[in-house]
Point group: C2
Amino acid sequence: MSKYSDSSVKGARIDHLGIAVESIDAARGLYEALGLRVIHQETVEHEGVRTAMIPVGESRVELLEPLGPETTVGRFLSKRGAGLHHIALHVDDIQAAWAELQGRGVTIVSPAVQTGAGGHLYFFVHPKSAGGVLLEICQDPV
Amino acid sequence: MSKYSDSSVKGARIDHLGIAVESIDAARGLYEALGLRVIHQETVEHEGVRTAMIPVGESRVELLEPLGPETTVGRFLSKRGAGLHHIALHVDDIQAAWAELQGRGVTIVSPAVQTGAGGHLYFFVHPKSAGGVLLEICQDPV
């Protein structure tokens, strides 16, 4: 554990880093060289993306490979090139986080707290409110 | 802890995320709204940067504000705008990681494993070998 752990708030952790890549097969080797492992791969047709999940401590790296150029990640690659797509922060109370950020005038991309695969909850904060980073706030299924 | 923790390798964790921002004072509010706290601020004159450290679980977010336009982070902001500057992965054996990556032909930016503030060890992998991300590999002081 980090020496800073005690200073952090309960439930807060970096849930995952979403990294847009041209090819999962080409990108995974670096992580495998460091002893990390892809434990799950999944194709999400309706989002136009193939994902590979690599656990790193309490977090994970998720490699995102587009199924075609006219997908969200495909357009990101065309415009920005490979690189970080989003950072996901886990919190214990996503409804409180939503209310707090709304109250402070933070620009939230999602129309409401969303329910994703497996029942986890999430919403996205616009990069202009998050230091240029697309920030996902998420919570485990209740 | 994440449900994926058991699948990860010993010692591996996301040490920190370095995020380049125009202003720490403007950027920190979002994290504070989520209950996170800046526990340390530091000006590193020879790197031309002011930093603010925000613990998040076993990791931390480090906000990086340039001291001027002709600094590493200043040039990054001019070219790319605010956003993720680098991801730092902690490993237990940085010398083994260095040797393994070198052996695989990964492009390493640093000329050797470096010793940083407080005695921690680190080197940087070029974004072209790491899915477009500037990747720091680090280890606690020995």
